[in-house]
Amino acid sequence: MAFRIGVDTGGTFVDVVVADEGGGLRLYKVPSDPRDLAGAVLDGLAEAARDQGLALPALLAQTERIVHGSTVATNALLTRRGARAALLATEGFRDILNMRRGMRERPMDSRRPPPLPLIPRERIYPIRERLDCDGVELEPLDTAAVAATARALRADGTESVAVCFLFSFVDAAHEQAAARELERELPGVHLSLSSEVLPQVRLYERLSTTVVNAVVSPLLAAYLDALGRRLAENGFAGSLLVMQSNGGVCSPEVGKRFGVRSVLSGPAAAPVAAAHLAGLAGLRNAISVDMGGTSFDVCLIHDGKPHVTTEGELAGHRIALPMVAIHTIGAGGGSIVGVDARRMLKVGPASAGAYPGPACYGRGGTEPTVTDANLLLGYIDPGLFWGGRLRLDVDAARRALDERVARPLGLDTLHAAYGAYRVVNENMVDAIREVSIRRGHDPRQFVLLAAGGAGPLHVGALARELEIPLVLIPRLASVFCALGGLLSDLRHEFTTSFVTPLDTVDLARADAVLARLRKQAEATLRAEGVAAADADLQASVDLRYLGQFTEVEVPLPGGAFSPAAVAALAGEFHRRHEAVNGYQLPAHGLEMISQRIVAVGRTAKPTLPELAVNGSGREAAPRGRRAIYWDNALVDVPVYAGLALPAESLVRGPAIVEQETTTVLVPPEFDLLTDRRGNGVLYRKDLDPDAALARLRVEAP
């Protein structure tokens, strides 16, 4: 038996999905521990082993691959607790990072403070050196200055150094020479060269991306080293892969050097899984929402693909690499509920995390959280949380909420708890509006796909507020990112710049350029253990009209240059240019700016059951009833045991459906249908689910 395992560590839980060869999927959830994340991952795997009746080494010995997403790099950036980093910059260009190209993104907003730079000015070192735009050396590198700087950095405990010189994407010699000095003086310190992180023109974009790499990589490297060591100690001999921000995976070696590629390592997997699942239901347009313990991530999936951008930033830091476009706010089960300066209810963005966690965890947390509120409202069964392994303390939750919220605001406990539920929902609704309405998409024409352990309790309320008719709640919702990892391919981009007019291109030279990239790509995939049959190399080139600033990517037909291929490239370029820019200029000459190989190593993916939606479900029998607080009143609702429900059961709202790691709240305006795999379809009562599905299938915005 060979297992494939997806692991996602968030701020609150470690999620594990184990796929066996027979297509079976099992999921596990253990608490995260920010002080020892690798240990928490091992705990999760041990839990999986126990469940399969195996010792951990036995499980790991039979595991061929572990795909891992983590928020290590994300949090380093969000909390500004990355490595202590320094920057070496070309003399005369010390402030490029903080200058941000002289812009503020909201021009009329005069009351927003300027962003803090990731590296303060006193740790940015101007170094004498200069190349011109052809790579001609105007000023040699002052290696003595680099060495002196390196000694100063050693003295002040620098953990990571970024180097970004002008025109290093044309000739990296100065950056490489500086790296040699730094390596000699600062053994073991992480180095980020802009000519390796993002060898592309545009100084600020390259510099900022490189600085982010310097700040996050040492943390990610230390974590991956610790994890790799502990997995090996426990008998793991398969391959460990790291989720990247682009929705693909890479080897730990790549991840450690280029941590910036994994700044969205955790959250990027959810849209991958969401697109996959929605696709199985025949839906091309979905909004994936992922509510975990700490954060709420939203991503718009349009025409079957998660939106990917190279125009991205995270916490105000520009990252010019392809990233799945995820909008994140601080809203989760662990979000702290409190009273703000206006004496109004406030939820998040601060989180109690896993330690001490919500007050009801009984681990010494005194701040009330969203989970505490949900418990008091009757949405969660204190005896069934996390499969019954953590008995929730209702009194502790009540005490915390009374003391910090209800009493200061003069409310009774239930009112305060319901207020917290509504405020956090409103925050999440606004985040969904941000990626849909504010970009001109009507959310009512999208299916909402709920992920994350806390999601299913809230998603019905979100759908009600946004008038979204249909919500999919996969059985694997609570471990969606871990699942997404198993559905991702290895993915790398290799790009180079051979600039030439297209009509007079030297075909042999262009082919040689591509061959070099292809060799690099093949070597990378081989090193990651991809068999030739699973490797897919796609060649493309970037073209533009002579003198433009931005290129249009066009696939190279047949993967090789020939007069026919060049003619086809030109034709396709004009067509694409017309489509995206509204015009074409067939009489104008073209230039080719760069060549690219996208290397995809296809991974074997678990087969996911198709959602069996069918309006003729039979009404299921509840296992009990309990009172929940809803719309400012106590309502007695039926409670169902999710996994015990017969296939195609119909649950009429209002109701509670309890599964092993999550609970679904069905609002009064909705009904829920389950399929035989435990997936849920939440739909408005005035619709029949087939009709709702059909409507969403045709109404592609």
Partner: protein, 593 residues
């Protein structure tokens, strides 16, 4: 227009936001497909949608002062072609005296027809690399009339019912030095309007005209109500301010002023420029459209930043600008610097007036702009003509209550919306080598919240022919960015030319500079004005600037009363306490005010 059609708020919001998104998509297409760095790198353009009644309903403004004048341009076009507007037409306009700001900003507009009826106008307007005339890249600091500035394009059709108007294109491109760039950028504008049209037709097909109209009515009404509410919160009264231009000519000549009476009356505001100096025979004059647009910049940057700028939100604003003055020059006057020089003056005066009305609205003044302006010519290395903006010499923005200014930010005509060029692309295009591009220490106006920092920009002209526009900006204490509510002014800017021979030349008025290879331009731009008493600034914040190398120990002691040991960089706490106490005891007034 369907009166009273019930429409739910969500749908109204979706449609309004979709319209805004369309203008953003048009802008994104222009950034992608432009030929000149002025579009592609600096984002010196705007996009907008007007309804059939010529009401602005949505817009994307990287340079807000360009946007505020588009209603005048679309009116001029619709007036001129009344009865002669067909599906597939694309119109062009750049004449400052028919609703434009200045010649280089070329407006391209397209009527959008749905079911045979005119429903919308989509418009883009951007700064072209050349419009002919005697200057460089559209700027002629030596012009005495509009005719020396370039070609005047009165409303004309680039396309007639979809057919390419070959005569017009040929004539236009024959009148510019850089037809390659101008043609590419005009096509890019036409393409953006085509995208806008496509997207609007999809929107109309989905929702129907009546629903879209109802959504627009709702949106415009809400925007108007938001502005009126903001105005009601400002105390009624008349508030006056005056700001002076930097030198308009060489030698000792008068520096004219803009004079403003800002009248707040309930939920309406009037900007009255009666008493402003007469227009000048240099390119500083503003057109009425540009003056109105500058007033919008001043107001919308002071109230809730989420209020959308559209026909509704502009209704409560009146602008009175007597003809023949700096703020409403008569036909024939040169105006190229109006989007920079005059726009800045108007915003400065308006902010100072607003600060009197409500100190919490006060903003320290920003750096002005344009010491190192545009350059263009032939690049021998690439064999291609070039036109670039030297917006590396940006200065700082002013502080506001609770917030320091931003360092190195594009000036108030764009409110930080325009982007500095990328130094690498800049050097790849132009025969220029940047020697220095970093913060200028001690350039921020001190305050409880300090202004942002200016920049030291030094560039060498290497090879090939270049003509560059230069203009003094913030060169004197009167024209440097003032502080507000006790904050100090930023120090003046300065600039000089260092010839290859080693000789140094100052310049004291706007000029065209034709450098020889090896000549260097050396610019020290200024920061922004401070807000509030500098002695109230936390000592740690002052110390952080000293450690960052942005504040000298002398200025820290003089302006902030914070004593730092120059050698060790350590704070002298006792001396600081003494100095701060002593200053509070004396007259306490900051000396540079």
């Amino acid at each position: 227009m369907t009166a009273g059609l019930a429409i739910d708020v969500v749908l109204a919001t979706v449609i309004a936001n979709r319209l805004e998104a369309i203008t953003r998509e048009m802008g994104a297409a222009m950034l992608r497909s432009a030929r000149s760095p002025i579009f592609a790198e600096n984002r010196d353009f705007v996009t907008a949608i007007f309804d059939d009644r010529l009401r602005m309903v949505a817009q994307t403004a990287y340079i807000p002062v360009l946007l505020g004048s588009t209603p005048f341009a679309v009116e001029a076009i619709a007036d001129f072609f009344a009865g002669d507007v067909a599906d597939g037409d694309v119109m062009i306009l750049n004449d400052p005296f028919m609703g434009n700001n200045h010649l280089p900003d070329v407006t391209v507009a397209r009527p959008v027809f749905h079911d045979g009826r005119l429903c919308f106008w989509v418009l883009t307007k951007g700064h072209h690399a050349d419009v002919g005339g005697g200057g460089t890249a559209g700027y002629n600091p030596e012009a005495r009339t509009v005719w020396e500035e370039g070609i005047r394009i009165t409303p004309s059709k680039l396309y007639r019912a979809g057919a390419y108007n070959r005569e017009l294109w040929t004539m236009l491109l024959a009148n510019v030095r850089l037809p390659f760039l101008v043609e590419g950028d005009l096509q890019c504008q036409v393409g953006a309007t085509r995208l806008g049209e496509r997207a609007l037709l999809e929107l109309l097909a989905r929702h129907g005209r009546d629903v879209v109209d109802a959504a627009l009515a709702e949106t415009l009404a809400r925007s108007e109500a938001q502005v009126r509410e903001a105005l009601r919160a400002i105390p009624d009264g008349v508030y006056r301010a005056e700001r002076q231009l930097d030198q308009v000519g060489r030698g000792p000549v008068a520096q004219p002023s803009v004079r403003l009476a800002l009248r707040i009356d309930g939920d309406a505001v009037e900007f009255d420029f009666s008493g402003t100096d007469a227009q000048v025979p240099t390119y500083h004059n503003s057109t009425y459209a540009n003056t109105a647009a500058s007033c919008y910049n001043a107001l919308f940057s002071s109230i809730d930043p989420d209020i959308q700028l559209n026909w509704g939100s502009l209704r409560p604003i009146a602008v009175r600008a007597p003809e023949g003055t700096l703020v409403n020059a008569s036909n024939g006057a040169p105006t190229t610097a109006c989007t920079t020089a005059l726009c800045v003056l108007i915003v400065e005066a308006a902010w100072q007036a607003l600060a009197q009305a409500a100190p919490a609205l006060g903003q320290g003044l920003w750096h002005r702009q344009g010491i190192a302006g545009m350059s263009s010519g032939m690049n021998r290395r690439t064999g291609k003509p070039f036109a670039v903006i030297h917006h590396f010499g940006k200065g700082g923005s002013g502080a506001v209550q609770g917030c320091d200014g931003w360092d190195h930010i594009s000036p108030v005509s764009s409110m930080g919306g325009s982007r500095a060029p990328d130094p690498e692309l800049f050097e790849m295009r132009s025969p220029h080598l940047i020697l220095n591009y970093e913060y200028r220490p001690d350039s921020a106006g001190a305050g409880a919240w300090r202004g942002g920092h200016g920049v030291h920009y030094r560039v060498r002209f290497t090879d090939g022919s270049t003509t560059m526009a230069l203009a003094p900006s913030c060169f004197s204490p009167e024209t440097a960015p003032a502080g507000v509510c006790g904050g100090l002014a930023a120090p003046p800017a300065s600039a000089r030319i260092i010839l290859a021979s080693g000789e140094t030349r100052a310049f004291d008025g706007p000029m065209l500079f034709r450098p020889e290879p090896g000549d260097v331009l050396d610019v020290y731009s200024t920061g922004g004005g401070g807000y509030g008493d500098p002695r109230a600034r936390p000592v740690e914040a002052v110390l952080a600037d000293v450690r960052a190398g942005l504040l000298s120990v002398e200025k820290a002691a003089r302006d902030y009363g914070v004593v730092v040991d120059a050698a060790s960089g350590e704070l002298d706490r006792a001396a600081t306490e003494m100095l701060r106490a002593q200053r509070t005891g004396s007259n306490g007034k900051p000396d540079a005010e």
